[in-house]
């Protein structure tokens, strides 16, 4: 039965095509994922990948990968990237340029913002079903917490907790924002 199973396994999957994007924001960019659901052979090698395109000055929500490390290779443009560890210390704060590789350990939190030229990357993940957890935006940790918990966590009023929780309406890929406008 090998010829019907192993020999006929699909061994390629295009994650570069824009019309197949899993996450898309017309002002921000797009992200596509290949995991064992979309390419079953990845279950055997226990790996997955993510393709991202950020338009000029757009941002990816602060996030971490729950169950894998990520190795990001910049395929085009550049971005300012910050990575923070469990001590709340910045372990990387710099520009990632085309051709460079950045390793982001499991659970370390990362934010990236594209330069004027935009930013494109491919990230390889050490789990066939890598799960990304977002910390800001419409589907994020902040949205999952009750207002009462938020106001006690940060010693803020209920109004401030509501702003913190519901202020960002976009998801995962954010359009160029307020601070960008201010710089301009």
């Amino acid at each position: 039965g090998l010829e019907e199973t192993i020999c006929t396994l699909r061994l390629k999957h295009n994650i570069g095509r824009s019309e197949r994007a899993d996450v898309f924001n017309p002002r921000g960019g797009r992200i596509s994922t290949a995991n064992y659901h979309t390419l079953p052979v990845l279950r055997q090698v226990r790996l997955s990948a993510e393709r991202g395109v950020l338009y000029s000055n757009a941002m990816v929500a602060p996030h971490y990968t729950v169950n894998s490390h990520s190795v990001m290779y910049a395929t085009r443009g550049s971005a300012r990237v910050q990575v923070v560890d469990n001590f709340g210390q910045s372990v990387f704060d710099g520009e990632v340029q085309e051709g460079q590789v950045l390793m982001i350990p499991q659970n370390f939190v990362v934010i990236k913002r594209a330069s004027d030229r935009g930013f494109e990357w491919i990230a390889f993940k050490t789990n066939d079903n890598a799960i990304t957890n977002l910390l800001a935006g419409r589907v994020s940790q902040m949205r999952m917490l009750p207002l009462g918990v938020l106001s006690n966590m940060y010693r803020i009023s209920r109004e401030e907790a509501q702003r913190l929780k519901y202020g960002q309406q976009e998801m995962r890929v954010f359009s160029p924002g307020r601070s960008q406008g201010r710089r301009e």
Binding site: N86, T132, N133, Q141, M144, N152
Partner: protein, 254 residues
């Protein structure tokens, strides 16, 4: 890390090696560097949370089992991808003149004797709703397949300025030589640039400083002063009586 042979000739009953005091309780940890724990790839922690104490939300690199040795409370687990299924009753909040509407993920009550599961990488918080101390015995499996970093427990906090007592004695001494032992760490937002957080959350600089905990000296267990409001289903009896009320109220409705 290169594996080292397990030395299991003389086993010892062990006490916690460190204790971190917090506003509304304290946390005790066993030594992560201990041979026996390293061999098994496990770690132990004990939280004692005073009444109205909130264990701040955070996630760690290993799955955990929590035994509730004493007391009762509620907890929230933020499971990625799941909907916020607990929602404000719009009609009630409007009639009460409340401007606040909220929705969040399921809140789970727990009591003495319960065993709670905390998956790796999933953030959770716990709150003591009782009149006595809440005592939680936490077991972390640091060599679990879900953990791909080193076999040390790393806790990532979303708020406060918790001291990283989970780290082993060796790492503790290393940082002590650098002069940072006992210093408060920041929460995970404290390492990011203000402008990034302003943009990501669409908030102003003042709120960013609070998010980063810049003027916050509180450790992982904080005191809740005001009434702690979360959406939680009423107890069965109250729910039944309320169910009858709704039934009669909606008789004339389509």
């Amino acid at each position: 890390q290169s594996p080292r042979a397990c030395r299991l000739e003389n086993l010892r009953a062990q006490e916690p090696v460190r204790r971190a005091e917090a506003e509304a309780g304290f946390t005790e940890v066993w030594d992560q560097d201990n041979d026996e724990f390293q061999c098994a790839g496990v770690n132990m922690i004990r939280h004692t949370i005073r009444p109205k104490g909130l264990l701040l939300p955070g996630f760690s690199n290993a799955p955990k089992l929590v035994f509730v040795a004493q007391g009762f409370g509620i907890r929230g687990i933020a499971i990625p991808g799941c909907a916020e299924t607990y929602q404000t009753d719009l009609r009630r909040s409007q009639s009460a003149g409340s401007a606040f509407r909220d929705q969040h993920q399921k809140i789970r009550p727990f009591r003495e004797g319960d065993l709670l599961v905390v998956p790796a990488g999933v953030s959770h918080w716990m709150y003591n709703r009782g009149q006595s101390d809440l005592v939680l015995i936490v077991f972390a499996d640091t060599r679990n397949v879900a953990n791909q970093i080193d076999p040390y427990l790393r806790k990532f906090y979303l708020a406060g300025r918790p001291e990283q007592v989970e780290r082993g004695v060796e790492e503790w001494e290393r940082s002590s030589r650098k002069g940072s032992s006992g210093e408060k760490s920041g929460n995970l937002f404290s390492g990011f640039a203000d402008e990034f957080l302003e943009e990501a959350f669409q908030i102003d600089g003042g709120l960013v400083r609070k998010l980063k905990g810049e003027d916050d000296e509180r450790d992982r267990i904080v005191q809740v002063d005001e009434d702690f409001e979360v959406l939680l289903p009423e107890k069965d009896e109250e729910e039944r009586s309320r169910g009858r009320y709704i039934e009669s109220e909606s008789e004339s409705e389509n």
